[in-house]
């Protein structure tokens, strides 16, 4: 045991070492370690949050899909109904058109027929009158029987 001034030198050295460590070594190292553990904790929290958000988004997407599916079904049903309606309406329209054309044709035929009949009557009455004239040229005074002939004409 030889205590001497070395002790003082050692103590001063020790004090300087501690001061330097306290000033320049400990704060940056410890701060960095704390910063890193904070970043790791933040990262883990963010990952957890992201996972939760993903789950939320997935369930939202599923909801949305279900809604869209329902809406699509509705639209398809409407379209089918509408197309049926259109087909029905077209059928009805065609039917009525056809009916109308037929009716027109019938009335035209009727008119034609009447006109023909009139023509024929006039021609027949002419023929009859001309025949009767030729037969009766001698006996019948045309002007005297004009009245009767006209009457006949109308009766034919």
């Amino acid at each position: 045991m030889d205590i001497n001034a070395t002790l003082l030198g050692q103590a001063i050295t020790f004090a300087i070492l501690v001061w330097f460590t306290m000033k320049f070594v400990w704060p940056p190292l410890n701060g960095m370690i704390e910063e890193r553990s904070k970043r790791i904790a933040d990262g883990l929290a963010a990952a957890e949050k992201g996972k939760q958000q993903l789950l939320d988004a997935e369930s939202r997407v599923a909801d949305e899909l279900k809604k869209v599916q329902g809406r699509a079904n509705e639209i398809i049903a409407n379209a089918e109904k509408r197309s049926n309606q259109i087909v029905e309406a077209a059928k009805d329209k065609a039917q009525s058109e056809a009916d109308r054309i037929i009716a027109d044709a019938k009335s035209q035929i009727e008119q034609e027929f009447l006109r023909m009949k009139e023509d024929l009557r006039l021609q027949v009455s002419d023929l009859v009158v001309r025949g009767a004239e030729q037969i009766l040229r001698a006996e019948i005074d045309r002007s005297r029987h004009e009245k009767i002939l006209a009457q006949l004409k109308t009766e034919l």
């Binding site: 070594v25 940056p28 960095m32 970043r39």
Partner: protein, 258 residues
């Protein structure tokens, strides 16, 4: 060949210079202890300061991680033991641990390496004790600094009056004031003595045993030297750790009420 006694004495003699007063008195300096301490302290500061300067939060290198591991270990001990707030305790503990560890590590240098170097530089009779912690001056320098800190922290935490009151009233109550004071003083003084002598004793004994092993025939030295060196790896780390932990414990006791 010198005798065994001369050999041992040669290895256990400090390189001492007298600064003033009578030769060998208090005002002399162990150049070897002091120089080794300075070099080792500088190694510690340089390594840690460079790592601290280059430290990155992301993608730390292996060496940075090793340094961080030490810092984290010290920080964990301080947080476990010392519950007050102090900017000093953690850096103090780190310094103690690393410095004492490096002191002790010198014990693993071959005992005759320094003598061989002295021989090579043409000064075979020079003394050079290479393990600073095997010098009571080095261990007491630290433990007495710790004692000053204990007193300082006690006064800071409780006030001078509060500290005095505690010295006279614990552990037996205020009626037995002087007895309390004697007990407290014994406790206070025993702290630095036990700190310093524990470390010194371990390292001195370790060094002495290495010297004794070195006296064996060279072919047989490894039989004892190997196991003792391996065992010493544990001892030197453990002693550094114990010194650090006890320092934290003493300082935490200083700020807590008894």
């Amino acid at each position: 060949m010198a005798s065994a006694t001369e050999y041992i004495v040669h290895h256990l003699t400090f390189n001492k210079v007298t600064l003033g007063g009578k030769p060998g008195g208090f005002w002399s300096l162990h150049i070897d202890t002091f120089t080794m301490s300075l070099i080792l302290g500088f190694v510690f500061l340089a390594v840690f300061a460079i790592v601290a300067r280059r430290a990155k939060v992301e993608n730390p290198g292996k060496f940075q991680l090793f340094i961080e591991m030490i810092v984290d270990m010290v920080d964990g001990q301080v947080k476990d033991i010392f519950h007050g707030k102090s900017k000093l305790i953690a850096p103090l503990s780190l310094t103690i641990f690393c410095w004492v560890f490096l002191f002790n590590l010198m014990d693993l240098l071959p005992v005759d390496l320094i003598s061989w170097v002295n021989h090579m530089i043409g000064n075979p009779e020079a003394h050079w004790r290479v393990v600073p912690s095997a010098d009571v001056n080095a261990t007491f320098a630290m433990s007495l600094s710790v004692l000053i800190l204990i007193i300082g922290y006690s006064i800071k935490a409780k006030g001078f009056g509060g500290w005095m009151k505690e010295l006279f009233s614990a552990p037996f109550g205020p009626k037995l004031g002087p007895i309390n004071f004697i007990f407290q003083m014994i406790e206070l003084v025993s702290k630095p003595i036990s700190l310093a002598l524990r470390l010194f004793g371990n390292m001195y004994a370790g060094e002495l045993i290495f010297i004794l092993i070195a006296l064996l025939p060279w072919g047989a030295q490894w039989i004892l030297g190997g196991p003792w060196a391996i065992f010493h790896i544990l001892i030197i780390t453990l002693q550094a750790f114990v010194f650090m932990v006890l320092t934290i414990v003493y300082l935490s006791l200083a700020v807590e009420d008894h």
